[in-house]
């Protein structure tokens, strides 16, 4: 009964209620989008690497190593010896290794030298392996496999010839234009930095750094020159037994033959995310303040209506409604309004995301789920309702006081 009365009461004040509703919906849209995008960004961040137990590289900071080996950001400071990589590969507890050699670029996209283990063992998201959308893996020396973004941005097809430059700018210091790389395959979109990477073999990386004369020889006969790499930038390591992680990590850092460090990707990712966290928190604070101001708007609207509702309160009193019941009616009105704003904005965001899901994924590589009702968002909505009740206290107390002092025929 109180519910119907609250509903009719709100409907009788259509204009103010509608404006309050709009302000609530807008602020909820801001809050929910920020929260959803934050959660999605975190998820997308965390999906860049999966299943890897250790990342081994030259001694630097753990963030630095993580940034260049996983996110292809920044420059590697130190390499590790190729022998160290081979020794690591032979360790009893090591299940698989992926060598990575960085430092070159192709038209602004990073070039990554690796071997076939990359395509076999690399995992992203929920342990998803890489898959080719076209072509084949690295087979001959000058084969390249490119990420989906590279193919899309540069309009490459399987079979196209490309040039790989030394250095990582769009225009490298030296154009290795004598080395004719051929696109052998294009990877399916992953939503990770893999999409923006040009993959070649470790030997190819060696080859492009040869003198022009030697390079000519290699092009003529790939076996004429020894292309065994001298170093790699980093190694992704999968272990047979997770419990061995710390032992291996210690062994690597104490290796007498090479200076190396090993990091746990999960730990480094958490550290990196906590750096980004302050930006995230600023956004959340702004969204919360916007919402708070809307809730005050709701409270003001109800409070302002108390004057014109004096007669109504008198009627309720006459009919035997206690002050508490009248207070409760105001709460029901506030909650009803907030709840309908919540439902409306959730539906609106879901519809918008649903409509743009494919567009965002194909154009920007953003994988944003249209299902926004994650546990965190539901918790957040719960907090919104509690905040509504708290701000509705002002008009409710006003109604209570006015009901308490209300006499029947004095108006």
């Amino acid at each position: 009964m109180l519910f119907t009365i609250a509903k009719d009461s709100l409907l009788s004040r259509k204009k103010t209620v509608f404006l309050t509703f709009c302000s609530l919906v807008i602020s909820l849209l801001v809050l929910l989008s920020v929260e959803h995008i934050r959660l999605q960004a975190k998820e997308s961040f965390n999906r860049t690497i999966s299943s890897t137990d250790l990342i081994v590289g030259g001694p630097s900071g753990q963030l630095n190593l993580l940034l260049y080996s996983v996110f292809r950001i920044g420059t590697p400071t130190a390499n590790i010896k190729y022998e160290s990589f081979q020794a690591l590969k032979e360790k009893r507890l090591v299940k698989w290794t992926i060598p990575i050699s960085l430092g070159d670029s192709h038209k602004g996209f990073r070039v990554l030298g690796t071997n076939s283990d990359y395509f076999e063992h690399f995992r992203y998201g929920k342990k998803k392996p890489l898959a080719l959308s076209q072509g084949k893996q690295l087979e001959t020396l000058f084969d390249t496999v490119i990420g989906a973004d590279v193919a899309k941005t540069l309009g490459y097809q399987v079979g196209d010839q490309i040039v790989i430059t030394h250095g990582i700018g769009k225009v490298g210091f030296t154009n290795h234009d004598k080395s004719p790389f051929i696109i052998a395959g294009i990877l399916e979109r992953t939503g990770t930095p893999v999409d923006k990477t040009v993959h070649v073999s470790l030997e190819a990386i060696e080859a492009i750094h040869l003198t022009p004369a030697k390079l000519q020889k290699v092009i003529a006969d790939p076996n004429s020159v020894d292309l065994t790499p001298k170093s790699v930038t980093a190694v992704l390591v999968g272990l047979k037994n997770k419990f061995a992680t710390f032992k291996i990590q210690r062994d690597i850092s104490q290796d007498p033959n090479d200076r190396m460090m090993a990091i746990l990707p999960g730990v480094a990712m958490t550290e990196l995310w906590s750096l980004l966290g302050s930006v995230e928190n600023i956004l959340r604070v702004i969204a919360a303040l916007v919402l708070l101001s809307s809730l005050f708007g709701l409270s003001t609207m109800l409070l302002a209506s108390m004057n014109e509702r004096q007669a109504e309160i008198a009627i309720f009193r006459v009919l035997g409604a206690g002050p508490v019941k009248i207070m409760f009616l105001i709460f029901v009105e506030a909650i009803l309004l907030a709840l309908s704003a919540i439902i409306f904005s959730v539906m609106l965001i879901t519809a918008i995301l649903y409509g743009f899901e494919d567009f965002l994924a194909s154009e920007y590589g953003l994988f944003i789920s249209s299902n926004i009702l994650s546990l965190d968002v539901v918790k957040l909505l719960g907090i919104v309702l509690v905040a509504t009740i708290v701000t509705a206290l002002f008009p409710a107390i006003e109604a209570y006081k006015s009901a308490l002092h209300r006499q029947l025929s004095k108006r």
Partner: protein
């Protein structure tokens, strides 16, 4: 015949710029009586109605309604007692404007914590007694004429079959012919339902409808300055 309303040593104190105190003479109203309570504005009529209905609690003294000392009840119990036993009709603004007539009546039943069963039949039968078209039930209050609103207010006040009906200047917004029609309908309805009626007005013309007339000045003890 038993007593419907009884006042004993009733005093009501107001503190404000000027402290005033109203002292009431002891008074009894029998069940089924129809009393015309006459008094000018400011004579304490409203205070008395507020005290009887239990919206105000007296400073001292007792109010006994239907053998219950309502002045001694807790606020919540008194509100509930009012919902179940006392119907009130004002000069105007008796109904919640944004609700339909039916919802207004339902609200009274809901607040009296009684079952909604047979509500529509009972409302229709009261509406017949008051010469109201049944179709107004689904109309918004704001769509009705003042005369209709006042009669709906009576229906609403009587829907829980209260023993007592308090009416405060219900006809002041009505023209003379509507007033006469309203008065006879009101009295007939009270007779049919055996309701005790306290009718408050400053309009002496309405005296003719009542057997018992009480002047507010006779109810109050002579004021001694306090």
């Amino acid at each position: 015949m038993s007593v419907a309303i009884e006042l004993r040593n009733l005093k009501q104190h107001y503190s404000g710029k000027v402290d005033t105190e109203l002292q009431f003479n002891d008074w009894q109203v029998q069940r089924g009586d129809k009393v015309f309570l006459h008094g000018d504005s400011g004579s304490g009529k409203s205070t008395l109605l507020n005290l009887i209905s239990g919206v105000l609690t007296p400073t001292s003294g007792e109010i006994i309604i239907l053998d219950e000392v309502t002045s001694a009840l807790s606020n919540a119990k008194r509100d509930n007692f009012r919902a179940q036993h006392i119907g009130v009709v004002f000069q105007s603004l008796n109904l919640v404007p944004y609700l339909t007539v039916l919802k207004n009546i339902k609200l009274a039943r809901y607040l009296a914590k009684q079952a909604q069963r047979n509500l529509v039949e009972q409302a229709k039968s009261l509406m017949n007694q008051l010469n109201l078209d049944e179709q107004v039930l689904d109309k918004k209050v704001s769509e009705l004429s003042v005369g209709q609103q006042q009669r709906i207010a009576i229906v609403r006040a009587l829907i829980n079959q209260p023993e007592i009906l308090l009416v405060d200047e219900p006809t002041s917004a009505l023209d003379v012919s509507a007033r006469d029609a309203f008065m006879s309908l009101l009295l007939n309805t009270c007779n049919e339902n055996g309701t005790t009626l306290i009718f408050v007005s400053h309009d002496q013309h309405l005296k003719k409808y009542f057997e018992t007339c009480v002047d507010m000045t006779d109810l109050l003890k002579k004021q001694e300055a306090s």
